[in-house]
Structure formats: structure tokens, C-alpha cells
Symmetry: C2
């Protein structure tokens, strides 16, 4: 729009009950940032969530901060009715142009094939009774070794693993990865019971352009302390390449 102001809508299709998914809110802001910056890939984005986003209209104000040769950065504010919901910082680059050494010392999660994993249709209603509309946007298959918490039997390891793709057949790209990397249920549900897990801050690094097909995911929470928790997530593409990682700080709230 030229003046850095964008208008969008927060759809209930990406929510749990009345709570929009944090990755979805991030994706709304990044769509406006992406249209402003010269580089294609969100190599490092950070978001601080300020107040609960509601369904309906949202304004996004984008401030270009710097445009360099390799990277460009913008800040963005998401507002509803003049109240700021989230503040973003996003640094974009061109992963196809990146040159430098590669040493990877981690492996993709070991998963049973998707047809032997636990689909979301098998997991039943949420304990909170909220409508998990966002579940219908993704085809998520959790490794049965990490889905016991659905049936009230958390493993205590604080880790979820599974396969992920869009339910409508859309293939992943670097613009979708910040949404996809926050698509799994909270790993803290494998440690402790809770209802709502609002994100305080999330940082996403997009590390590669994903190949078509399933993404293999791993999310983990190791430190739940006085109700604060971190969650680390990674997504690996169908060629076995890690393409996105995220870390977030959140609160475990008892009620929905």
C-alpha cells in the first residue's frame, strides 16, 4: 500500500477456540513485511506478543529498518482497534545465494511411517472443550511414542515428534515455515497438564528452502519453571534437510 500500512483479517480457522495460533499471527505480520523488503527468505524473525489477538480485522504497520546487500530488516506492529497485539522484528535474506561451510551434527527425528502415526482425527476433543479449528488446516501425524498425553498418559520426556503437511495439499515454502514450525501441540503437554499456552516471545530461523512433501518435526520443552517454559522446534524436509527451527518462551495456564 506504499505507506507501510496493511489490513488483514484474523480468521477463526487457525484458532483453538477463541485463541488464534501464534504462528498464524506471525505469518500475517510477515506477509506484510515480505511485501516491503527486497530479500525473499525470513532468515530470522522475532515476535513479542503483547495482548490476546481476537478474530476479525487487524492492521499491520511495517517500518523498513535497513536494506543491505545480504540482509534486510523491518519492524512491524499488529493492531486491533488501536491496541497493539504483537511487535515483530524480521531479517530477510536469500538462502539460494548463501555461500559458506556446512557441518551438520544432528539427525532428523526417527519416525514410523505416517500411516502408522496418530492422526489428529484420532485424538478426540480437547480436554478444555475448545474447538481446535486449526487442526483441520494441517495433516499432522504424531509418533505414537509421543502422543500418549492425548489419552492422559504423558511420557514425561517433554518431546513430540511427527509428520506435518498442509491439509489442502499446498506444498511448504519459506514463507510458510514460520507458521508450520508452530503447528504442533505444545510439547509441555507431555510434561504437565494445562489448557492454554500463550507465547510471550518466539524466534524463528528459516535455514533452507523446503522440498515438496512431508516435514518431519521435533518439538521439546526441557525447562518448565514457575509456569514459564521454553519450546524448541525443528522441521526437516523430505530430503532430510533441516529447514526451520524455532524457540519460544510461553506460560502454562491451567484454564482454557
Amino acid at each position: 500500500m506504499g505507506d507501510g500500512r496493511w489490513h488483514g483479517e484474523v480468521s477463526p480457522r487457525w484458532s483453538i477456540g477463541q485463541y488464534p495460533n501464534g504462528g498464524y499471527i506471525l505469518a500475517i505480520g510477515l506477509a506484510a513485511v515480505r511485501a516491503t523488503l527486497p530479500h525473499p527468505d525470513p532468515v530470522a524473525v522475532s515476535a513479542h506478543f503483547l495482548s490476546p489477538t481476537e478474530h476479525g480485522l487487524v492492521d499491520v504497520e511495517v517500518e523498513p529498518v535497513r536494506a543491505g546487500r545480504a540482509h534486510s530488516t523491518a519492524a512491524a506492529r499488529l493492531l486491533q482497534g488501536g491496541t497493539e497485539r504483537a511487535r515483530l522484528l524480521a531479517t530477510y535474506g536469500d538462502l539460494a545465494a548463501a555461500r559458506g561451510p556446512t557441518v551438520v551434527i544432528a539427525s532428523p527425528p526417527l519416525l514410523p511411517p505416517p500411516e502408522e502415526c496418530t492422526g489428529q482425527e484420532a485424538t478426540g476433543p480437547l480436554p478444555s472443550g475448545l474447538d481446535p479449528a486449526i487442526r483441520r488446516r494441517f495433516d499432522l501425524r504424531l509418533d505414537p511414542a509421543t502422543s500418549g498425553w492425548f489419552a492422559g498418559a504423558p511420557s514425561g520426556r517433554g518431546e513430540l515428534r511427527g509428520w506435518l503437511r498442509f491439509a489442502d495439499g499446498r506444498e511448504p515454502d519459506t514463507a510458510a515455515l514460520p507458521l508450520l514450525v508452530d503447528a504442533l501441540p505444545p510439547a509441555v503437554f507431555d510434561l504437565a497438564t494445562g489448557g492454554w499456552v500463550p507465547t510471550i516471545e518466539i524466534s524463528v530461523y528459516v535455514r533452507g528452502r523446503p522440498a515438496p512433501g512431508w516435514l518431519a518435526c521435533r518439538t521439546a520443552t526441557r525447562f518448565l519453571m514457575d509456569g514459564y517454559l521454553e519450546e524448541d522446534a525443528e522441521l526437516w524436509d523430505s530430503r532430510g534437510r533441516m529447514v526451520a527451527q524455532s524457540r519460544q518462551l510461553a506460560r502454562l495456564n491451567r484454564g482454557p
Copy 2:
């Protein structure tokens, strides 16, 4: 100062050669943020580095974004001669007032006692020939199992572990943790040779108020891809409590 503008100085005492440490730049910005917000502890801070900071005067412009009951958030810009060096988002809280469940499934790093570790005085000059002035600000003792890269023998595991405290006897507090969590050498040096590792983005979560004494540290890089790398760090206090964690995205540059 009331108008959200602060003035400071980037000292060469916290640099490697002409390159100020990223955690030090972050700490300069957070000192101004802390003076602006009502909550005491930096529970989640994010910084995007835009252009190389130089020694000398720095202006910090703080914008209060939101003040809520449990958390308050500000944005900050660091400028030198009108050029923006870094943009910060910081959410503060009160860790002493936090209430909620605690489940920790990680352990502090297993370390030999400090007197059996590798002090910085033993590590000799940097391969790049730069003056590592910042080393004299910290008393850092690396586990010998993770300090082989100093002598040209990296382990290939991409992990550094050690003991850390301020060299002048100052005890750690939550304001110092964002600086301390970035005080170790880059873990990527245990994977690949390089000179300068500029940070693109760093997020720090302060999780507890540290007890006096040594901090036990662990930093790790698992994915060096086309010159981009992430580094995760944790600090544990002398009571065995994890008090800060960070993740950063950086580039491995060959030259100094």
C-alpha cells in the same frame, strides 16, 4: 532522561579487536530499557544486529510498547552517528513473583572443578591476531574436553562447556545474564575454523535470579549450513538452577 533518549559509550574493553561483543551491545540497550520499564527482570529479549558497532558514543532510543500486570515490553534502537546498529525488543517481568508448575528434565553440564579447567590465559593469542580484550573481563574456565580447538584440534561435537564469572568479582544478577550468556567463544569453532562470527539475531530468556558464585555454561552449534549457524547457550547457577538460555543466528566469516 524522560524523552526515551539515552547516551552511552561502546568501550573497547568488551571487544575482540575492533569488534564489540554482541552481548555487550545488547546489555547497553537493555540498561536503558530497564530504566524505562516497571518490571525488574529481562524474561525475553530479542536483538537484530544491523551494522557493525564501533567504539565510541552510542545513542539509545527507547519506546515503551506496553505495560501490563505481569509483563512490560519496550523497543529500543541503538544508533551511532545516526546509523542504526541494532534494534531490540525486550519483555520484562518479575521472576520472584512467578507462580506455576516446575518440571525440569535437563541437568547442568558435568564439569571438572574450575582449577582443572583451561583458563583463558592458557589459550594464547587468537589465530586472527586480534586483541581479545573482552577475555580480561571474564574468568572463564573451559572443560579441557571442549577446548582442543584452541590448539587446532576441534572435537567436531560443536559444544563448549565451562565455568564463568566476572573477573572483577562482581556477582551475577538478572541484568548481567544477557551479557554473560554470550561470553563464551563461539561453539562453531569446535566444528570449523573461522575468524569473526557476527550475530544476526539473538534471543535471551532469563529464567531465574542467579545465586552468587560460578556459573556453569554450555553452548552448542548443531547446524552450520552455507555459513549460517545457530548457537544455543545455557547458564546454570551455583545452586544447580538454569538461570538463562539464549539462541542466536550468526554467520561464520573466514577473515577477522
